[in-house]
Amino acid sequence: MIRLRVHKRHEPLGWRSLFIVLGAIVLSFGIGSIFLAIQGKPGLQGMMLLIRSAFFSVWALEDCLIKAVPIFLCSLGVAIAFRLQIWNIGAEGQYALGALGATWAALTFPTLPWYILLPSMLLLASIASGLWALIPGLLKIHLRANEIIITLMLNYIGILLLDYLVYGPWKDPTSFGFPMTREFSPGAIVGPIGSTRLNWGILLCVAAGVAIWILLKFTRLGFELQASGENPRAARYAGLRYDRLTILVMVLGGALSGWAGFLEASGNLNRLQPSIIAGYGYTAIVVAWLAQLNPLSIAIASFLLAGLRVGLETLQLDLQVPAAFGQIMEGLILLTVLAGRFFSDYRFALRRRAA
C-alpha cells in the first residue's frame, strides 16, 4: 500500500493496461454468464454466442460499424468535457436535440436539393444540440450549478420533447397512428455507401475524430484543456480561460452528439421516431472512460461496445434474454476496469521501488 501513492497519477498508457482491461472484461463476462444462468439460460454458451454473433460475420461487422457511429460521436463529445473535468452526462439529450434540429429542417424544406438540405440539417442539428448543452455550461460558470444533474435532467426533458413532437405536431397523418414523422425526402437522406448498409455519415466520424485528435494533441487549445483539466484552480491562476473552455467543451461536445442524432435520423431511420432513443448517450460515457478519453481508443471501444449490442440482439432472439442485459454488461465492464486500474498502478509502483 505504501508504494502505491507515489506513482498514482503518472501511470502511462502502456501495453500493461491492455491486460488489465482484458482481465476486467473476462471477469465481467464471467459474472454476466452467471446472471444468464440464474435466469435459466446457458451461461457460458450464451456469452460465446454473444461474441460469435457480434463479430464473426460480415453482416454482423457491418451492424457493429452502424451502431458504432452514434456511440463514437457521442463519446467524443463527452470525452472532451471529461478532459476538463466537466461532467457532461447529457449526450443522450443532446443527441435527441440534434435529431430534432435535423428533422425540423428536413420536414420544413423537403424540396431542397441534397447539397443544400443535408448541410442545413447538419447545421441545425449542431445549433439545437449545442444550445441544449450551453444551458448547463452557462449555469455552471455563472452559478456553479452542478452540471451532472442538470445535463441528466435535460436528457429526460429532451427525450420527452422528442416524444411530444412525434406523438403530436410532427406525426405523419398517414402513419396509422404510429408515433413517427413522415419519411424524409430523398434530399434529406444520407445515402448508403455502394451496396452496403453503411451510410456516408461514417466520413463525418472520421473527420470529427481526426479534428478532435489534432485539437487535443497539437493546438494551444488542446494544451489548455489538458492543463486546466489536471488542475482547474492552478489553471485559473495561470490565466487560462477556464470558463471559456467550459463553454467550448460543452457546446462542441453537444454538437458532436447532435451530429449523431442527425445521422441516425437521416441515414438509418430516414425519419424521426421514438426508437431513435437507444441509450447511445449513456454507452458513450462508458466508452469514454474505457478509452481513457483518448480519441483513437474511443473509436476502438465504440466498435466493441457496438458489438455488445449486436451480439445481444441475437441473444434476445435465440435465448429470449431481456435487452437490459446489455446495460448490466456495460456497467460491469466499467466497474471492473475502474477497479482494475488500481492493480496497474500497484504493479508499476512495485517495479519502481525495486530499481
Partner: protein, 306 residues
C-alpha cells in the same frame, strides 16, 4: 381549490414525496462521510425490485421492505469496493452503478413486468387521523410513511448529537485530520456508504410495496437523480431534505391529478415538470455562489499514506 380536492392532493404529496425522502436522506448520510455515490437511481430501482420479489415470495411486506434496504446496501457495497478499496473515481463508479443497477432491475424484473403485490396498506392512526385536515393528510397513510417521519429526526440526531455522527462528519470534512485523531477513516466511509445505500433501497422498496403496489420496468423514473439534486438543495441537512422531498411530491401529485382529470396539455409535457423543477431548484440553491454545506472532501478519495 376546495378542501375535498386539496386533502387528497396533499395526502398524495406525502406518498409521492416519501420514496424521494428516504433516498435523499440516504445520500446525505453517504455524502456526509465524504463519498459521492451517483448510483442512487440504480440502488433505488434494485431496492424496488428486490422488495417486490421478497414480498411476493413470502407474502410478508415488512420482510420485503428490509430486503429492499439490503439490496440497496449490497449495490452500494460495490461502489465502496471500487472507491474505498480500489481508489476508483467516485463519479464514474457511481454512474456505472446506476447503469448496471438499472440493467439488473429490468433484467431480473422482466418476467414480472406489470404484476402486482399487496404490500403495505393504509392504516389510519386512531386519534390523530380524526384531526380535521391534518389527520387525513398526515395520519391516514401506510406504516412506511410514519416510519419516514422519524427518519430526518434520527439522522439529524445521529449526525449532531452522537460521537459516531461527529466522527463521520469529520471524516467527510477533513480526512487527514481524522486520521491524525486516530479515527478509522475508511470504516466510517464504509458506514456512510452502506447505511446510505440501505436508506436508498428503502426508498425503492416504498415505490413498489406502498406507492404503486406493482413492478414495472423503469419504476424509479429518475427519482434517484432528483434525490441527488435534493441533497444540494437541502445543504446536506436532513430537515431541509424533508421540505425538498415533499415539494417534489407535490409536483408529482399535481401532475397525476392533471393527467387523471383530463387536460389539454399532452402527457409528455406534463411529465417534464419534475425534471424542470429539479433544474430550477438546483439553480436557486446555487444562486448564492458555492454550494452551502457541502462536505469539504466530498468525492475525493483518501489515498493510501506513505
Amino acid at each position: 381549490m376546495t378542501m375535498d380536492v386539496l386533502v387528497p392532493v396533499l395526502a398524495a404529496t406525502i406518498q409521492s414525496g416519501t420514496p424521494i425522502l428516504y433516498a435523499t436522506l440516504g445520500e446525505i448520510l453517504t455524502e456526509r462521510s465524504g463519498i459521492l455515490n451517483l448510483g442512487v437511481e440504480g440502488m433505488m430501482i434494485v431496492g424496488a425490485l428486490a422488495a417486490f420479489l421478497a414480498a411476493r415470495l413470502t407474502g410478508n411486506p415488512v420482510l420485503g421492505f428490509l430486503v429492499g434496504g439490503m439490496a440497496g446496501a449490497s449495490l452500494a457495497a460495490i461502489h465502496g469496493l471500487v472507491c474505498l478499496g480500489f481508489q476508483g473515481n467516485q463519479v464514474v463508479s457511481g454512474l456505472a452503478l446506476t447503469i448496471m443497477g438499472t440493467g439488473l432491475a429490468n433484467y431480473f424484473g422482466a418476467p414480472f413486468d406489470g404484476q402486482s403485490v399487496s404490500g403495505f396498506q393504509t392504516y389510519a392512526i386512531p386519534a390523530l387521523s380524526s384531526i380535521p385536515f391534518v389527520g387525513p393528510v398526515l395520519f391516514s397513510q401506510d406504516a412506511l410513511v410514519y416510519l419516514s417521519y422519524s427518519m430526518p429526526l434520527l439522522l439529524w440526531a445521529y449526525l449532531h448529537f452522537t460521537q459516531w455522527g461527529l466522527a463521520l462528519r469529520s471524516v467527510g470534512e477533513n480526512p487527514e485530520a481524522a486520521v491524525a485523531a486516530g479515527l478509522p477513516v475508511a470504516g466510517y466511509r464504509w458506514i456512510g456508504v452502506l447505511a446510505g445505500g440501505c436508506l436508498v433501497g428503502f426508498g425503492g422498496a416504498y415505490l413498489s410495496l406502498a406507492y404503486t403496489h406493482l413492478w414495472t420496468n423503469g419504476l424509479s423514473a429518475g427519482r434517484g437523480w432528483i434525490a441527488v439534486a435534493l441533497v444540494i438543495f437541502a445543504f446536506w441537512r436532513p430537515w431541509r431534505a424533508m421540505l425538498g422531498a415533499y415539494l417534489f411530491g407535490g409536483v408529482m401529485a399535481f401532475q397525476f391529478r392533471m393527467q387523471a382529470t383530463g387536460t389539454h396539455l399532452p402527457s409528455s409535457l406534463l411529465l417534464m415538470l419534475p425534471y424542470a423543477l429539479t433544474i430550477a431548484v438546483l439553480v436557486l440553491s446555487s444562486w448564492r455562489g458555492r454550494s452551502i454545506g457541502a462536505p469539504a472532501s466530498l468525492g475525493i478519495n483518501i489515498e493510501p499514506p506513505d
